[in-house]
């Protein structure tokens, strides 16, 4: 129909659009952000599908579940760690009788380019007992997304598209196919299937278990699970999953013998195909982008009966992302010759806060206010401000997960530590900071919460926050923080002395205080000005 140059993320978005999408929800997170961004760009305001960012991944998922309940198709997007937040509705949604197709596009970040871990979302799909697709290129990302919607409606369960950074953020060509129309609004008639009270859930769980066989039958036939048997060569065979395939094929022409090859792109695992492959080869070499998910299934506790070489026995690097060079080494091929160059000591260039960033001024004021406390604790959170851990600021001391700064500060304070401060951004606060703040208010904990409000989701490229900045002080007051201990400051060098004074006073106050440091992100400001000029 049409040839488009798209990021892998955008190919998923286009696939969903062409599959008759009615709603797309998500929370920004690298490397998944561009799925919703693309839809926001191509779908005209006021037209369908509904496309919007939500407060967090859990609320995104629940919105999509509502769409499905009334018979329409929904896409939910998030990064891998976002699925931890959405795990509750995700796992349980496998037990209801989905109406409209529900597709979860989750983007993993092997190698941790922009994340705190490299968890593999295939485990979540397996845990929930639902199908999962793993595209290896842009066309597959498009096709698999379309197929995922059909499959979701066929089995009445959510279907996962597992993306990874290198595909999500790579540009390639997609050939689109004819667009399918939207489903009509039709509320699920099977209400019992949606009431997961124990009596119903037991029945639904049995149904889901029965369905596993059918899902496996589907996997066995799927062209995304391709088996190539080389009759004349049996010494070893290669299994690939995800981008492992691309890196294997990149090196294939250098191998003297072409081994048998099984690629798995659709889950649940097609056991018959694996048996067929296994019986044909003497040894198995396995390349998976992510955890050794399939490898562990193959070897179990007692082993597979044949040597399986992969991440578990050290044949393939256990951590980080795969690349053509790692796969080459595991295939026993010699390193390619590279350019010879004179030695030169290269200093690293880590990311840093932008020049003039409001967070920098907030950190400098905090630093001075904390001068008299050689022992202090400042918890922090997920966002640009984590970069303030480096000189000259050296303020944040923890980064764990969205919203953890507040709960951890409460725990440390109640354990007897003083002084304790928590720092997090406005979007992170709205994502997961409200509930721990309730705990802190309820116990009137002696801590100072600093909401670093730059009026945007900065780290992921400046998406709009779910509520405007002005609502923050109302929210904080509304949950019961004493109004005399709520301050809104403007982090600018000229306000330094007075900001230091406010921090000093509130650190000394033996109760809960909240300082909102508000100044717009320079990057979004720049973008806005550019937009106005054009």
């Amino acid at each position: 129909m049409e040839e488009l140059v798209l990021l892998g993320d955008e190919a998923v978005a286009q696939g969903a659009l062409d599959a008759g999408l009615s709603a797309a929800y998500g929370y920004p997170g690298t490397p998944s952000t561009e799925i919703i961004e693309y839809l926001l760009r191509v779908v005209k305001t006021g037209e369908r599908p509904v496309v919007s960012w939500c407060a967090n991944e859990k609320t995104s998922y629940e919105g999509a579940l509502g769409t499905s309940f009334v018979g329409r198709r929904a896409l939910v997007t998030m990064k891998h760690v976002g699925l931890n937040v959405a795990a509750d509705p995700f796992i349980n949604s496998a037990l209801v009788d989905l109406g409209g197709g529900l597709v979860l596009a989750v983007a993993d970040d092997p190698g941790m380019h922009s994340s705190q871990d490299e968890q593999d979302s295939r485990f979540y799909a397996d845990f929930a007992k639902v199908p999962c697709f793993e595209p290896t290129d842009h066309q597959e990302a498009y096709e698999m997304t379309r197929e995922a919607f059909d499959l979701s409606e066929r089995f009445h369960v959510p279907v996962v598209i597992r993306m990874v950074t290198r595909l999500a953020h790579s540009r390639g060509i997609v050939k689109t196919r004819e667009k399918r129309g939207e489903n009509p609004v039709a509320k699920s008639r099977n209400i019992k299937q949606w009431m997961l009270t124990p009596a119903n859930a037991k029945v639904n769980w049995e149904k889901l278990l029965d369905l596993q066989r059918k899902m496996e039958e589907y996997s066995e036939k799927s062209p995304y699970n391709s088996l190539f048997l080389e009759k004349s060569f049996t010494e070893y065979g290669v299994i690939t999953t995800g981008l492992g395939k691309n890196y294997y094929l990149e090196n294939l022409s250098d191998l003297s013998e072409k081994p048998s090859h099984l690629h798995i792109g659709a889950y649940p695992v097609p056991t018959d195909k694996i048996r067929k492959f296994f019986s044909h080869v003497d040894k198995v070499l396995i390349f998976e982008e992510g955890y050794p998910f399939l490898e562990e299934k193959l070897t179990g506790i007692l082993g597979a009966g044949k040597p399986v070489m992969g991440k578990k026995n050290g044949k393939v690097a256990r951590s980080g992302e795969l690349n053509p060079d790692l796969v080459r080494e595991s295939l026993g091929l010699p390193k390619r010759e590279t350019k010879k160059y004179p030695a030169f000591q290269l200093p690293g260039r880590p990311p840093q806060l932008c020049k003039g960033c409001p967070h920098g001024d907030t950190f400098l004021a905090m630093k001075e206010a904390l001068k008299d406390y050689p022992e202090r604790l400042v918890t922090s959170d997920i966002g640009c401000y984590a970069l303030g851990a480096m000189p000259p600021y050296e303020i944040p001391e923890t980064v764990v997960c969205m919203g953890a700064s507040i709960g951890m500060a409460k725990g440390a304070s109640e354990a007897g530590f003083f002084p304790v401060l928590a720092t997090l951004g406005d979007s992170t606060f709205l994502h997961s900071g409200l509930t721990p703040l309730l705990d802190a208010v309820s116990a009137n904990v002696n801590m100072t919460l600093v909401i670093m409000d730059n009026s945007t989701v900065a780290m992921t490229g400046g998406q709009e926050t779910i509520l405007p900045s002005e609502s923050l002080e109302k929210i904080v007051a509304g949950v019961g923080v004493s109004e005399e201990h709520i301050h809104v400051i403007t982090p600018l060098p000229k306000n330094h002395a007075q900001n230091v004074e406010i921090f000093r006073k509130e650190i000394q106050y033996p109760g809960l205080s909240v300082v909102i440091a508000r100044r717009e992100c320079l990057e979004t400001l720049k973008k806005k000005k550019k937009g106005e000029a054009e």
Partner: protein, 187 residues
């Protein structure tokens, strides 16, 4: 035919837009293209790189294998040295001569440039001076693409057409200044 390029620089310097311009031209020329980008945290003033692969055959891997790279195209000299092991023995390094100093331990500029000069197949480009000559101080990256174009398996006209198409939204003056920056870089 295949041509593999590592585009690199510091977050905010325009690494992705340089890669995008070359990718656009290659697609116009009917080549298969893959452009792997880095988004997220490292874009904040840190080292940034993009793998750009052009080929007349199907491209398997989005990442360039070490020793397969034909060119490193760098927005500033220090970053140009960071990925040399991606180059094949005859590969070239094309880099802007102007350092981008945002770290306290940035090496001595003269020593750094001397090191690059001794590297066979290296080209230092005075992007700021040539952009000024072209009448658009901002057009440094176009100078750089012009310098790189001497090695790329793409016709000059295709790249000039690409510049026209990509910048036409900004008016004829910008198109002309960018085209002349490209021409000055190409030399």
């Amino acid at each position: 035919m295949k041509y593999d390029i590592i585009c690199c620089g510091v977050g905010g310097q325009g690494v992705l837009s340089v890669a995008a311009l070359i990718a656009y031209g290659a697609m116009k020329a009917g080549l298969a293209v893959r452009q792997s980008e880095v988004h997220g945290m490292s874009q904040r003033g840190g080292a940034v790189m993009s793998h750009l692969r052009l080929s007349d055959l199907e491209i398997k891997s989005d990442l360039i294998p070490r020793g397969e790279g034909d060119m490193i195209l760098s927005m500033e000299p220090l970053e140009g040295l960071r990925y040399l092991d991606f180059l094949r023995p005859e590969g070239v390094l094309v880099t802007a001569v102007e350092p981008f100093i945002n770290i306290p331990n940035y090496p001595d500029t003269e020593k750094l440039l001397d090191n690059i000069r001794t590297l066979p197949g290296s080209l230092l480009v005075e992007t700021q001076k040539l952009a000024r000559e072209a009448g658009l101080n901002k057009a440094t990256n176009l100078v750089l693409v012009g310098a790189a174009s001497k090695y790329l398996p793409l016709k000059e006209e295709i790249l000039l057409e690409s510049i026209r198409e990509l910048f036409s939204r900004k008016g004829e003056k910008v198109v002309e200044a960018n085209s002349s920056a490209f021409a000055l870089g190409r030399g």
